[in-house]
Amino acid sequence: MKLDNSKVKLYSQIGTRATFGLACIELLKKYENLMVCTADVSTSAGLDRFRKKYPNNYIDVGIAEQNLIGVATGLSELNFKVITTTFSPFQALRCLEQIKVNLGYMQNKVVMVGLASGLVLGSLGFTHASIEDVGALRSIPNLNLICPSDSGEVVKALDKALENKNSTYIRLTGGSNNTIINQDDYDFEIGKSIELKKGHKVCIISNGQILSECLAAANKLDEINISTSVINMHTIKPIDEKKIFEISKKYKLVVSVEEHNVIGGLGSAVAEQLIKIENSPPQALIGIQDYYEKGGNYFYLKNKYSISSEKIFEKIKNSYECLRKI
């Protein structure tokens, strides 16, 4: 699907969740056998209009996420195009074994959308904030994992995920009025990263809305003569091995930044590639250092976990200076 330039601003205002709801209406034009399945969260997924207008393409199984994946699997067996959605912890973890057996092992095809992942629901506590979903799901074979950088990319990711042969988990981050990362239309392919900013000393690899913090940090780093690239590694699995190989040959320092636990997430995925490459540069893993903070709003938690632009800037500056001393 093309990114409609005139809608980019609206998408960012309403955020990734409501954009997802709009995208479902668009996708129904492409696939008349589309089934959107949820677990009593239509409102939170921007699906109110879809629910009212297309009851035949909409299934609410109640607050029962394990059943959600089972039902979606049954539908996929009959070649329906199936999307499931609920808040990310319930979409990824509550039904983890259903995902493993039905979508990983049997390879039935479902596109799952994890709402409000990362830290955006921090004031609701860590039953709702979600810093483990990527790690848990990454260990299941035959599953794609995508974390779109902004609302527009949610639309693109959904479209490609429905075309792809594997099941996909799409991880939504950020709130409403999110930062637009991609202003104009561009090519989006699962497993193919995108260079957002060019530099030549340090390379930041990130995804999701936290990319906005990375871009700000990179601009500040440029100002102190640490020229920094930023890569949108929207697909965590399959990871863009080719790009990581190129990066390893070009930069002095690789930095992964994620709104997720550093264990099992994007940073781990990048490290698993770098370690295979001879004389690869060192990698700094910026993200959540394996603990639960007290709750609070998005900005508060990004600061506490040191993934705000200033903290990212500081950390990279220090790492880079240490490197030069060696």
Partner: protein, 283 residues
Amino acid sequence: MEEFMQIDLDTKKRVKLVANTVRKKILLMAFSAGQSSAHIGGALSSADIISTLYETVFKINKKNIHDEEKDRFILSKGHGCLTYYAILNHLGFITDDELLTFEKDGSILLGHPVKNRDKGIEFSNGSLGMGLSIGVGLAIGYKRLNKKNNVYVILGDGECNEGSVWESFMCANKFNLDNLFVFIDNNKFQQTGSNDEILINNNLNDKLSAFGWNAKKINGHSIEEIYDFLVTNKNNQKPNIAICETIKGKGVSFIENNNDWHHTVLTKKNYDIAINELNKNEA
């Protein structure tokens, strides 16, 4: 033989007043949360259940909160935490200042309960369908230890969509857990509609009786009926469950049975009107 105990008039009056205070505090926190929104309807519907429980049989205070002999409570529908925080404030566990930090940065009072025994919060909840299993585990444990502790759990009716809830229903029966007392806050609504729209789950009384529980349909806003459920000894080794007929948003006319108030922002104007209504109950 069942043994009945009537609630005395003074206690009833006191509990009623406490429930009214709890409702006012729910609204105060919701208002102070501002744009970050709060689960209001489902908090108001549980206020009489929690107030009766904490003011009669479940007696906790700062001195006994770590006692091994103390009973245990689990708010399985964790999003209804405003009621929990309000009663714990009334009992002196949570200060007035702390109440106003609801959902604020670094607060101990988030949009779902975070385990904090000193403050009287016994478990972290918020992901629906997990609390009753913990209650079953506690109740089995107390039996194995030959202890007399009771375990109290509040479930939402929407929460009962979760299969795990039914796993615990079956399990409690197997282990003869007459020390387990469960309330279903049967307000007929869940997040995005009525139970009937989202997942029909009626005849809970018959279902739970068939699952081997002492199941009883009660008025979840009647202090007498809640008390009666808590103190009536059925002498039959079965777990106990009250299907509480409640009104989502109970106590504030414009919130009652209006599911727009499931999770939303309470403005100053609406806050004032609501508090006015509740104040009238104290006149």
